[in-house]
């Protein structure tokens, strides 16, 4: 996205807030002071636990929810203030796919994809050409006359994607689109979304509770907790240097770096008296991810590190590793300095006797 002017954002959330009235006159704050920019052409993922506000945030983009404070702009147009036909025009520029697909049981694959075009008042001849093309694009030509009840979950989501693309939107919203699918099907649907993002230059904003989804397709990400964005940035940077506890806990499930229970249960935050091991997390990024750092640590400094957990994988095109080590506490600072010198990130997690 080099050369993109800074104001060329697909979606801008500006100090957005949303509260709901509660019995007793109080208000529940679903979102507070959310500011986030979704770059044009990016795949931006928002991760959060259920009830964190991510679904409300996503629904602000096409006006299914209205902000009580701040604003949402899509391609420069204010969504929160739009009403009637203005709002419907914005919605035609924003496609949406859903966790439970939300396909009409009474319509075939072809009929479901045609629905947004019928709603937009597209002439019948154009609808036919466009729907044929879309059904083909998502690989469902053979199933075009089937009803949703006859399709698998992955096929249903492909219909959902074709339907969302029908009116040639600029932005695609994905509401936990792979959460109801098995891991294999999830991969094929994510690949389809990536391909659409590349081929059409379509901006995708997705919400998920699975870090693996962000790792696989998101170029940018944000972490939401208690209605606030607690961390955001390019996915690789957030994975490499997570700053917030929530981000770390999401990451621990996906980077293969979870402390074994026998270590976690004995670990203390302060260094105990007497002999102890320091437990550190080492994050490998870029080209150093492939260097044999632990061997170098042993040969150059004579420090032995115990591997507690770890994994090396890819975020987009970049290799990315995450290792949990324990090192004899007196020599640990020396070892960390060595690793930092080689452009690795280290973090002290605690100590064990």
């Amino acid at each position: 996205m080099s050369g993109t002017p800074p104001d060329n954002a697909a979606i801008i959330f500006d100090r957005l807030g949303k509260s709901f009235p509660k019995s007793g006159g109080d208000r529940v704050m679903a979102l507070q002071d959310v500011s986030l920019t979704v770059p044009t052409g990016s795949v931006t993922g928002i991760i959060g636990r259920s009830g964190a506000g991510k679904s409300t945030l996503l629904r602000m983009v096409n006006g299914l929810e209205r902000p009580t404070e701040g604003s949402v702009k899509v391609a420069g147009r204010d969504v929160g203030g739009a009403r009637g036909s203005n709002l419907r025009a914005i919605r035609r520029d924003v496609g949406m796919i859903f966790q439970h697909f939300n396909l009409l049981a009474s319509r075939t694959v072809w009929g479901n994809v045609a629905l947004p075009l019928e709603i937009a008042g597209t002439p019948a001849g154009q609808i036919k050409a466009r729907v044929d093309q879309l059904v083909d694009q998502v690989g469902l030509s053979a199933l075009r006359d089937r009803y949703p009840a006859e399709l698998s979950g992955g096929q249903k989501q492909r219909v959902g994607i074709a339907r969302a693309l029908a009116t040639s939107p600029k932005v695609l919203l994905s509401d936990e689109a792979t959460s109801a699918l098995d891991p294999e099907t999830t991969q094929t649907v994510l690949e389809l979304l990536s391909q659409i993002n590349r081929d059409l230059g379509l901006t995708i904003l997705l919400i998920t509770h699975e870090m693996a989804v962000l790792r696989d397709i998101a170029s940018h990400m944000a972490v939401i907790e208690g209605g606030r964005i607690v961390e955001s940035g390019p996915t690789y940077d957030v994975f490499a240097k997570p700053n917030h506890g929530t981000t770390r806990s999401f990451l621990s499930g996906v980077t293969g770096a979870t402390l074994p229970a026998f270590v976690a249960s004995r670990m203390t935050l302060d260094r105990p008296d007497g002999p102890a091991q320091e437990v550190i997390r080492v994050t490998f990024a870029g080209q150093h991810a492939t260097d044999p750092m632990l061997a170098m640590l042993a040969t150059e400094l004579g420090i032995a590190a115990n591997i507690l957990a770890g994994a090396i994988e890819e975020i987009g095109p970049h290799p990315f590793g995450n290792l949990l080590l324990s090192i004899d506490a007196p020599r640990a600072p020396e070892a960390r300095a060595f690793l930092e010198r080689h452009a690795l990130t280290t973090e002290v997690l605690g100590y064990v006797r």
Partner: protein, 224 residues
Amino acid sequence: MSANLIPILWEATLQTMYMVAISAVLGTLGGLPLGVFLATSQRGELLSAPWINKVLGLVVNAARSVPFIILVVAIIPFTRMIVGTSIGTNAAIVPLTLAAVPFIARLVENAIREVEAGLIEAARAMGATPMQIVRKVLIPEALPGITLGLTLAAVSLIGYSAMVGAVGGQGLGDLGIRYGYQRFMPEVMLAVVVILIVMVQLVQSLGEWIAARVDRRAARNRGH
């Protein structure tokens, strides 16, 4: 049963079919939009109009509380205003229709409320107007339920039509009372009951067949 009773039974059967068919059609014309409105006009819903919804709900409940035989005689002046007479088969269609509208409205309302909220949300996200959502999403998706509701309403109308003899509405029920009961002709009573049973069976089977044809919610063998 003597042969000269057959034409009388046949005529009464036609009269019942006529009354039920016309009042079912008119009742649907009134009850379908009313049911759709009731299902979509509570606070925060598609056509949000909570006060009108409440008032219409009360009117529907009131109309459904009145026993049909009382409705028939209570609205005689209204019937005379509409069809010019308060006696006969055409006059009987007025109370039948008036009973059918709120009944069908509630059945349609229930069927529409069965449609998943996610489908309405998806249609809103596409930029659909409330009327487009009603026409292209709610009614097609609720069609199996609406069909079964209309079947139930038609069966009830067959039963109601037996009471319109009170205003000279004729038909099978009236025949059964006048010949079978008042003239002590049990064979006429029996014939009337048998014809009504067959009629209800046919309506029910037809309704279920149509409902199954329009129901695409479950996977099934595709008959190519």
